[in-house]
Symmetry: C2
Subunit: 209 residues, 2 copies
């Protein structure tokens, strides 16, 4: 697991490769060339070969790539076979939707606890997990040692919760809040989902078509 020097641009494209290869595999495609992949995915063939070669020579000259093998390799690189113990904080509309909707298990995560500060939600089941009151977070983490947290809470509450989670050993955050975790905890992995930023970007596009 040495820290490696793959560029962020490449990493962000990996899930897309994984997705397309999965579709092809399910459709029964056995082999694919970078040229054919290029047509389907909208990246240049050159970029595809360059990207895949960051991780090793998965292809074969004169033949192309074996779909099933490449799919498996990229899955391994992404760590989708892992089972990182994960807690979700904030069971409002968004938190419940994320908990119920995402295939955590297929992507390297195991959701083991859902927390909210609202007493009224306590006990309600989401994806077969009871919503727990946030006061129980400390004990739960001490007992279960989750390494990942999904943050579906308003930015105002994120600082306190994040500090505590990091203290309790959480190493990765899927952050739906506007709190800048990376700025405060430089040694932690953070992936931000800023839905409102995305929506404003769309606003720009439609007003500049």
């Amino acid at each position: 697991m040495a820290k490696n020097d793959i560029s962020m641009a490449v990493i962000k494209r990996l899930p897309r490769y994984y997705r397309f290869l999965g579709e092809m595999k399910r459709a029964g495609v056995q082999r694919i060339s970078s040229g054919e992949l290029s047509k389907r995915m909208g990246f240049t063939a050159s970029q595809i070969r360059q990207d895949l070669n960051c991780f090793g020579g998965f292809g074969q000259q004169g033949y192309g790539y074996n779909v099933a093998q490449l799919y498996k390799e990229i899955g391994k690189i992404l760590g989708v076979d892992k089972k990182a113990k994960t807690v979700l904080i904030g069971a409002g509309n968004l938190g419940r939707a994320v908990a119920a909707h995402m295939s955590f298990e297929e992507r390297g995560f195991n959701l083991i606890g859902i927390f909210d500060k609202n007493e009224a939600l306590a006990g309600q089941l989401v994806r077969n997990l009871p919503i727990r009151h946030i006061d129980g977070l400390y004990d739960f983490c001490r007992d279960n040692a989750p390494t990942v947290a999904v943050l579906c809470i308003p930015g105002e509450h994120a600082e306190v919760i994040t500090d505590e989670l990091v203290r309790l050993g959480v190493k990765g955050f899927w952050n739906f809040s506007h709190y800048d975790i990376a700025a405060h905890h430089p040694n932690v992995a953070v992936e931000n989902v800023h839905l409102s930023d995305s929506l404003m970007t769309l606003s720009y596009y439609i007003n500049n078509l």
Copy 2:
């Protein structure tokens, strides 16, 4: 609204500027220099000046930028003062959360209709809008002429719906599905939100810390 040549990298940063300036304005900050903004936002001062200058000289030498004015200007560039009529397709967990949770009005949109193929949901209120059966989409669009659609449906159903919406005059899509709208409709604005890709990116990060 001439098509202009601002790079995508700059556009994607605008919502972040808007967010930080909004916070500062609310906190009573009147003026800010690119150097000070740099510290707060984590972009270089040089990049900030370069970015803002794409849209005109908002600053003043020796002084910096007026927070309230800059906030307003960026809002105008992003079109947050618009009221693009918007329909949301797919009222499952994710669709309902997006409908209930997002501040469409503060970002240039006006959500006017929610649709789902599930008869059982029909009539249920989300954000004071009744969920309508998808069969009523054609008539609704003919009568109300929405220009934006939020797609919260599985990829398998997206092609048919998207084709119809484009025919009915929809010009922008906020796309939560894995269907590649842009590839099929090149003249339409598309902003993709691929939550599962984002989650897999996090998986990569935590496994390569």
